[in-house]
Amino acid sequence: MEFRLTEDQHSLQRALRQVVTDRQPSWQELTEVGLFQLRVPEPEGGLGLGLPEAVLAFEEAGRAVLAGPLVGTEVAAAVLGLDGRAEVVRVPARGPVLVPELPTLDHVLLLHPDDSLAVLPAAAVDAAPAAAVDPDRPLWRLDGTPPPGERTPETRRVAADATLLTAALQVGLASRTVAEAVAYARTREQFGQPIGAFQAVQHLCADMLARAELARVAVYAAAVSGDEVEIAGAKLLADDAAVHGARDCLQVHGGMGFTWEARVHRLLKRAWAWEQAGADRERCLESLATRL
């Protein structure tokens, strides 16, 4: 057993962090660094790497709160061999079917509750724009009954990989909430000292880190094992780390956290969106319960 990053994995992580830190790289740039080709075999022009590397890359994307159809595009290329921008859309147990950034997509990978998959050309999808809470992730509401799909071993892989990569995004986002909260707590002063010196604030931050770190190793391990139930568990913990972390981050920012200018609300809104992407909480829990 050697459950730690290899030198190559460290380099990959560093390289990606450089591309995304403090800026929103263009889609073109993301494509050029190979974000979507990581797992595509080398003979087909990809990098021939595995899920662990993809997870490390998506963790960085999550830390930078990148916009765009990241997960679907990667999974479409790696699992289905499809080029172009794609998003994995789950038909939820309740409520509307929402497709992010529909006009920019080439494919919509529609996953039904039973994991059957309909691969649809985006242009043929009948949907209307809806007012999204997250300003960086516009949504379209699907009209009519979602077309049926089929089930193959590949469609299960699409479901599992999309869940895992979304969990990786959430882990990155969770770490970001810790960093933002700690940075603010160090500089904001009240009662003549940094608020980070107050134990109530320290303990919020400590719990945020503990949740993020546990979720991180869970996501890494699920990437190594590829096991569907372990992936469900990792997503559950990652969602909690991100959503709870963003809430606490907002609390640490006080009134500033409630403003539009401070970026904190964007972290929370994205965490909410990613919580519903891939497998949502209910789905993860039922999958874990089935294995028990």
Partner: protein
């Protein structure tokens, strides 16, 4: 990143499994928890079997009499013994996991030769006399006084919450040798024989009704200077050195045990109908995910330790999440078994014992302070 065994690790695991399969059926039944002499006999007999099979002090260095196993092998040992239902380290805990490793690291050749072999062979039991009535979380505030008199220290004071004191032969004792120095600099580590004149052990009944720990009253106890580990007034550093010995494996077997308990509870819930309660089922599912992740965190910390000498991610993060998850596990268990939770039994005993996990070995609040200040670098308050 790699989770599977190397060839050597797989080989080690296979041999260990064979040995456990052969040895465990030969063990006598575990004694009643209130039968201390019986517990001592049981725990030491198990240690002797480990010794004879070459598994004693698995993570101790070879020159200290240990097996010098890698952290991964140590983890395999903890995992396999727990999976097989082997006895817990029990009364050997302090000797094998704290006092012993401290002596192995800081002791003179004479001290190592005197103290280590009996621990490995299961002949001598140690206890840990650190906490005092006035020094718990703030351990360095301890006041038990040691005054040099010729070739001995004369020690007077009291200790509290000393686990296994009733059956211990030795106590790793922290005493104050310089009351004028800053609090961390006036402490000395001594090995105290529990049968020395002036030592009184008064068992304390825990909330579970058992006597897991005791108070120690020390009245002019003479302890030879030769029993001092490290220099006078260097006891704080001497004590902290050991923490790295665990290399991420502390609570590893308990994590495996909790995963088993979650599965067991799911079985009970399916049998008694609690499984139909959506909320309970999902709480069990959440716990399954958490303990699976905590096990991965153990593997991560152990791998980091194998490579860098120190565990990654911080033991405090693990301790915090693990102790709280484990308490929740027994609260969920109480809901699964219903009225049984109000009767004495295995689950209620676990639930009561579980209340100590967020207190012993550094409270959850202290762990959060450590994470906030040492890992996140937040400032200390005024």
């Amino acid at each position: 990143m790699q989770l599977s065994d190397t060839t050597e690790e797989a080989d080690f695991r296979r041999r260990l499994r064979e040995w456990l399969g052969k040895t465990l059926p030969e063990l006598p039944a575990a004694p009643d928890p209130s039968d201390w002499p019986g517990r001592r006999a049981f725990d030491t007999a198990w240690q002797r079997r480990l010794f004879d099979a070459g598994y004693a002090g698995i993570h101790w260095p070879v020159d200290a009499g240990g097996r010098g196993a890698t952290p991964s092998e140590h983890l395999i040992f903890l995992e396999e013994t727990e999976l097989a239902g082997a006895p817990y380290v029990g009364a050997n805990f302090v000797g094998l996991l704290h006092a012993g490793p401290t002596i192995a690291t800081e002791g003179t050749p004479e001290q190592r030769a005197r103290f280590l072999p009996p621990v490995l062979r299961g002949e001598e039991i140690w206890c840990q006399g650190f906490s005092e009535p006035g020094a718990g979380s703030d351990l360095a505030a301890l006041r038990t006084r040691a005054v040099r008199d010729g070739d001995a220290y004369v020690v007077t004071g009291s200790k509290i919450w000393t686990s296994h004191a009733e059956v211990a032969d030795w106590c790793e004792l922290l005493v104050r040798t310089d009351p004028d120095a800053p609090k961390h600099r006036g402490i000395t580590w001594l090995a105290m024989p529990m049968d020395a004149p002036g030592v009184t052990v008064r068992p304390l009944k825990t909330l579970a009704g058992t006597t897991e720990f005791a108070e120690l009253f020390l009245d002019e106890v003479r302890i030879p200077v030769a029993n001092r580990l490290g220099a006078e007034n260097d006891g704080w550093r001497v004590t902290m050195v050991t923490l790295s010995f665990e290399r991420g494996t502390a609570f590893a077997s308990e994590t495996v045990a909790c995963q088993r308990e979650v599965r067991e509870l799911a079985r009970v819930a399916r049998a008694n109908g609690a499984w139909e309660d959506l909320e309970l089922r999902r709480e069990l599912a959440t716990l399954a995910a958490e303990f699976a992740a905590l096990w991965r965190l153990v593997q991560w910390n152990v791998s980091e330790a194998a490579a860098n000498g120190v565990p990654g991610a911080g033991g405090s993060v693990f301790k915090l999440r693990f102790s709280e998850a484990r308490q929740r596990l027994y609260d969920v268990a109480a809901r699964v078994v219903g009225g049984e939770a109000l009767l004495e039994g295995a689950w209620s005993a676990q639930r009561l014992q579980g209340l100590s996990y967020t207190i012993a070995a550094g409270t959850s609040q202290i762990q959060r302070n450590i994470v906030a200040q040492r890992i996140l670098g937040l400032p200390r308050g005024r």
